[in-house]
Structures are given as C-alpha cells and as structure tokens.
C-alpha cells in the first residue's frame, strides 16, 4: 500500500475533528466524530495490508499463502463496536437535550462555566 492511505487517514481525521470543533448541532457533531473515528479504520487496515495477498482465511489454502494481517482487522472490528456504542449514547443525549431544552446546539446547553 502506498503513502496515499496514510495521507487519506490523516486528512479524514483532521476533517472530522475540525467539523466537531465548529459544530452547532449535536447530531452533526456525532457524525463528525464517526468521520474522525473512521480514519482509524483506514489507518489500521493500511498498516496490515500486503500487496497481492489474500484475506486471512486459511481453510482450504496452502498454509504458506500470503495473507493480510488479521490482527488489525480484529482491532478494526472492535473499534467499530466501540464507535457504535459511543455514537448511540451521544445521539440519545441529543434526543434528551431536544426534549429538555428544545435545542440540539451544544453551545446553548451551557449551564455552568468559569
């Protein structure tokens, strides 16, 4: 894999975090966080990628078949599960915010400061 994948991962991370920083809507913010987190999927998969290799399933293959790294794929799966949990929670909080304060703008949720 070329440098391109790493560049894409870095770019997506920056875009996601930038979106989260300027966001004025909790649902938009949750999506920005998923974008930022998807950069970690690309990074992980890029790290485990081998040119001209198959998926890491060895049943029925010669044991010496060149395969991509299965560890990072397991990590990515775990990462996705974690991400889904967090996003679900933030969306639930957005719903509650809409109900309690009739807004989904994080800047208007401010009760305490200083």
């Amino acid at each position: 894999m070329s440098v391109l994948a790493y560049g894409v991962a870095a770019w997506i991370f920056c875009v996601g975090i930038y979106g989260a920083i300027i966001s004025r809507n909790l649902i938009h913010l949750a999506v920005c966080l998923s974008v930022a987190q998807s950069s970690t999927y690309i990074l992980l998969l890029a790290i485990g990628y081998r040119n001209h290799a198959t998926a890491p399933i060895f049943k029925g293959f010669e044991n010496r078949t060149k395969a991509v790294d299965p560890v990072v794929q397991a990590l990515t799966l775990t990462d996705i599960v974690v991400s889904v949990t967090v996003i679900a929670l933030i969306l639930a909080l957005a719903l509650d915010a809409h109900e309690a304060a009739n807004t989904v703008d994080p800047d208007e949720l401010v009760g305490m400061r200083g």
Binding site: T40, L43, L75, V82, V86, M112, G114
Partner: protein, 603 residues
C-alpha cells in the same frame, strides 16, 4: 493463584450482565444482593492479588497464550503492587458507592447499578492489563459507563451538558490513543507492552515513535484531567450523582496517570532520553496545580470546587510520575491512595448535604448547616486531610514527592505544591466554615455565579450512609501512618521502574528476585517535608480566612488587587467556557504543542 487475577474483572462484569438480564424478573432485593456480591467478590480478589504481588508480579495469560521464544502474542494481565493497589482502590470505592447508593439512589433508573459494576470491572482491567489494545478497550468501556452515569438525570440541562462534554472530549482522547497504538503496531507488530519495548529497543527512536508516544500520553492525560485537557471534568463531575463523582475523582482520573507511568517504564524507557519527558510532564503538572487551585478558589458550587481540587492533586501526582525516579513515584502512589479516599469521602459528604439541605451552593447554604454537626465535622476532617498536615492524610505522599524533587535538584517544585495544596484545602475549609458555622459574608463577588439548579428531591437518609462516609474519611486520614506502607510503596516503585526485570518476567517468564520482607514501621519524615506540611497548614488557614472576610480589607488594597489580578483571573474563567468545541480545540492544540516539543527533543 494467578487465576484470581481475571476474576477481579470478570466478577463485576458478570454481575452487571446478570442484573440487566434479570430485569423485570427478579425481585429488587435479589438484584441488590447480586450487585454487592459481584463488587465485593472482585474487591476481595484485588486484596488477595495485592498481597501476592508484594513479593513478585502476578502474571496471567488469557487462553493460555503464553509467549514462546520470547515473543508474546496473547493478552496478559500483570499485577504489580501499584496496579493491584489501583484496582483495589477502584473496586473498593465502587463497592462503597454501591452501598451508599442503596438508599441515596433508591429511585434511580434501572441500569444504574449495572453501569457502576461495568465501570468497576473496566477500571480493574485497565489497572491490571499488560496489553495496549486491551487497555484501549477498557478505556472506552470506562468511558461509556461513565458518560451514562454522568448524564444520569438527563432530563436537566446541567447533567446533559456534563455528559455531552464528557462523551465527546473523552472519545477524541480515545481516538488519539488508538492512532498511537496503530502506529506502534505498524512499527513493531506487537501489542504487548513489554514486546513493543523489546522491538523498539532494537532501533533508535524516530519521529514516528515520538508521534505515537505523544498521542498515547496525551490521550491518557485527557482522562487524567491535566491542563489543558481537563476542561470537561469540571462539567461532568459537578452534575453526576455524588457516589458516582466519588468513583470518578477517587479512581478514574488516577487510572490515566497510572498508565502514563506504566507505558513509559514498561515500553519507552530504554528508547527515549529521560530529561525531555521529565521537563514536559513536570511543567504540565505544575501548570495544572496552579490553574486548578485558582479555579477551585473561585467556585461556590460545592462539587465543582471538589473537582478543581482533584485536578490540582492530579497535577501533583503527574509531577510525581514525571520526575521519573522511584521515590517520587512512590509519593505519587501514596497521594493517589490517601487523596482518593479523602476526596471520595468529601463527595459522599456533599451527597449528604444535598440530601438534607436540597442545595449545593456555598453562599445559599450559609449557616444552614448548623443543624448538621456530624456532617460538618466529616467535611472539615476530610478537608484537613487534604492540607498535608504532618502525619495526616496526604502528608506521606507529599513528603515522598518532596524527597524525590529534592534529590532531582528541582527545589522550586515543593513550594509550588505547597501553595496549590494550601489554596485548595483553604477553599474547602472556607466552604465548610460558611455552610456549617455561618461565618463570613453572605455575598461574595469573587465567586463564579452558577445557575439555579433544581436538586432532585430525595427523602432517603440512612445512618448507614453517614457510617460509610465516616469510614472512608477515617481511612483516608490514617493513610499516612499505616505501618510499613512507606517502605512497601518505595520497594514497589523500584520494581515498577525496572524495565529489564518487567520484560524478563513477561516475555521469558523469568522469576524476579522476590522483594525481601519489610518491617512494619512508620519512618520519620525529613525536616523539610514537615516544614512544607506546616507551611501548607498556615497557608490553608490564611486562604480560608481571606475567602471568608476579604471584604474587611482596606478599600485601597482591594482596588489594587482587582486591577492587577483581575484580568488574568477573568481570562482563566473565560477559558472554562462550558462549550465542547472549545474543549476539543484545547485538546488538539495541547497535543500539537507537546508533540512539537518532543519531536525536537526526543530524537
């Protein structure tokens, strides 16, 4: 006996699953019993592991995937006295919180107990794991349980803001950690701490390793409430239910600092030169202590005050880790123990205040605490424990920190720590005197106004809650004079910083030289430490008196003070804006600055 190790994590997680699974089916008492049983079993396991780890590290490989030929593929738990002690503190505080919540949160929504149990298991796993990705999973599990607990009364604005800021900031911290782990895996093909260290040591450190290290450390510091990553903590802790705050402040923040220390000594110690890391960590710790002390003084919301005092103490603990020598590390560990117990006690007291007086605002509560002498005495006793009065509360930890800083030749560190401690403890005593004695002015323009908050009506008040709180505070106060604790923590710290012995134990299953049996005594503190303790005491009284009666100062003095100190204090206040976008910007900027400093100094 190594099979006990995973039980400390599995028991609360199983209990949590049982609780959720038996919802609507089992009677309430059965579920309470399950919760206390799961948490209690894990706590007992932690005690056993701690006792066993005193002589040598306890090791467990999941699924029997032991390393072969010095290459570790499996996931390991490694319990040294600090890891096991941290797991015990976290488990013990959660057990306390569960017992306290029995009446306090009687009307709580269903998943409350299950969330606390999940958090307990995750914290124990975080403290014990020897594997980076495993650490990340526990980090996220602690986070998810904690967001839900912080936003427990989510129908109100305050808890919503706290939970949202917590969830978003902590997630971004998690991404930083994950990217760091991925880069390290790409470089070394390993996830085990010792294995990564072994692979890295074969090459000289380049910028990639520096970036990975920076991302890991900053992600952990975001969990550990270190300036400038601390902003969301104040919002989240101030609004969570009191027993949950006790766990957050007493154990969760400290876990991040424990892992900073672990990842440095288990993995990066042979790769990086010490001085740049020492400078950055000590400076961060000092800035944290000072910023948090000032912010603490400005608060009138009792719980928000306690959070800033915790953040100041986290700064002190970070300096203990950052000095990179065993004496300071032992000091940091002792501060974690004594401060964790005392701060948990203070939060439990604040829960009792809210329960009895239906408010958590220092000025509105002025004099209303006169009817509650026992609660008042508990609050003041715990606050005195945080001063660092010789041989009381946090004194032992800070005395060891003083020794470590002195031997490292950093003589300006102890006075700064003393000032920070004095301001924080003085603020707590000021609040105690105002609420429980009715001293001081009824209005104070120095303090940050907070919005009126509707405190949930609860009628439960069991003497058991008072007794639990009393026991926690008493344990915290006595932590400086436990016979043999100082020698044991110093021995544990020497083992913690021994990278070669850790790698040999994990990768080649080498038997460590067992720590010899140590006497049970309380060594005499150095005269310098006693002087600093006395100084902190004097300062505490001065700060408390100033907070109560500063209006009696001559007008000229007050005007001059307002002109000189006013603008920077207002600036500091405005940084704590409560807006999550600002917090993320601070996290990104802090990471970039730390990374830039290390990129030029570590290679």
């Amino acid at each position: 006996m190594a099979w006990i190790l995973p039980l400390a994590v599995a028991a609360p997680l199983l209990a949590a699953a049982l609780l959720v699974g038996s919802d609507h089916v089992a009677p309430e008492h059965f579920k309470d019993a399950i919760a206390l049983l799961g948490s209690g079993t894990a706590t007992v396991c932690c005690v056993l592991v701690l006792l066993q780890s005193e002589r040598r590290d306890v090791l467990h490989w999941f699924g029997g995937w032991r390393p072969t030929g010095g290459v570790a593929l499996g996931v390991s738990f490694v319990a040294d006295p600090f890891g096991a002690g941290m797991a015990l503190l976290a488990s013990g505080l959660t057990l306390t919180a569960l017992a306290y919540s029995w009446t306090y949160m009687r009307d709580a929504a269903r998943p409350y107990d299950a969330l606390l149990l999940a958090m307990q298991g995750a914290m124990a796993g975080f403290a014990l794991t020897g594997d980076l990705f495993n650490m990340f999973v526990w980090f996220e599990l602690i986070g998810v349980a904690a967001y839900a607990l912080a936003g427990h009364q989510v129908k109100e604005l305050g808890p919503l803001q706290g939970a949202v800021n917590f969830a978003i900031s902590n997630s971004v911290g998690g991404y930083l950690i994950l990217i760091g782990i991925a880069l390290l895996y790409g470089r070394t093909g390993a996830l085990n701490l010792a294995q990564i260290g072994h692979e890295l040591a074969a090459h000289s450190a380049d910028r990639l390793v520096v970036v990975a290290f920076t991302l890991l450390v900053t992600g952990l510091l975001a969990k550990a409430a270190i300036v400038p990553f601390h902003l969301w903590h104040a919002d989240a802790h101030a609004v969570a239910p009191a027993p949950v705050c006790a766990v957050f402040s007493g154990a969760m923040i400290e876990l991040g600092l424990l892992f900073v220390a672990r990842v440095y000594w288990a993995t990066f110690e042979p790769v990086f030169p010490g001085p740049p890391i020492r400078s950055v960590l000590v400076v961060l710790g000092v800035v944290t202590m000072l910023v948090a002390a000032v912010m603490c003084f400005l608060q009138r919301h009792l719980k928000r005050m306690l959070v800033f005092s915790t953040i100041a103490e986290a700064g002190a603990i970070l300096t203990g880790v950052g000095l990179l020598d065993p004496t300071s590390l032992a000091g940091a560990a002792n501060v974690v123990l004594s401060h964790g117990l005392l701060k948990a006690g203070l939060f439990l007291v604040s829960g009792l205040i809210v329960l009895r007086l239906k408010d958590a605002d220092e000025l509105r509560l002025r004099g209303r605490g006169r009817a509650l002498p026992v609660i008042g005495m508990l609050w003041c006793a715990a606050a005195v424990g945080l001063v660092g009065v010789p041989y009381l509360g946090v004194f032992l930890g800070h005395a060891l920190l003083d020794d470590g800083a002195g031997s490292a030749g950093i003589h300006w560190l102890q006075p700064i720590t003393m000032v920070s401690q004095g301001i924080c403890a003085g603020t707590l005593l000021r609040a105690g005197a105002r609420v429980f004695l009715g001293w001081g002015a009824a209005e104070d323009e120095l303090l940050t106004p907070e919005p009126e908050e509707r405190v949930p009506e609860r009628s439960a008040f069991a003497p058991a809650m008072l007794a639990i709180t009393g026991v926690v505070v008493a344990l915290g106060l006595a932590a400086s004079v436990v016979p043999g604790l100082e020698r044991r923590s110093e021995a544990a710290a020497r083992r913690f910083v021994d990278h070669a012995a850790y790698a040999a134990r994990v990768l080649r299953d080498a038997q460590q030289k067992p720590t010899p049996r140590l006497p049970y005594d309380v060594p005499r503190a150095s005269p310098a430490s006693i002087a600093y303790g006395a100084g902190a005491t004097v300062l505490t009284i001065a700060v408390a008196a100033f907070g109560l009666w500063h209006r009696r100062l001559p007008d000229g003095v007050r005007r001059a003070a307002r002109r000189s100190i006013g603008p920077p204090v207002d600036l500091l206040r405005s940084v704590h804006s409560g807006i999550v976008g600002d917090y993320l910007l601070w996290i990104v900027a802090g990471t970039a600055v730390i990374g830039a400093v290390w990129a030029f100094t570590l290679t």
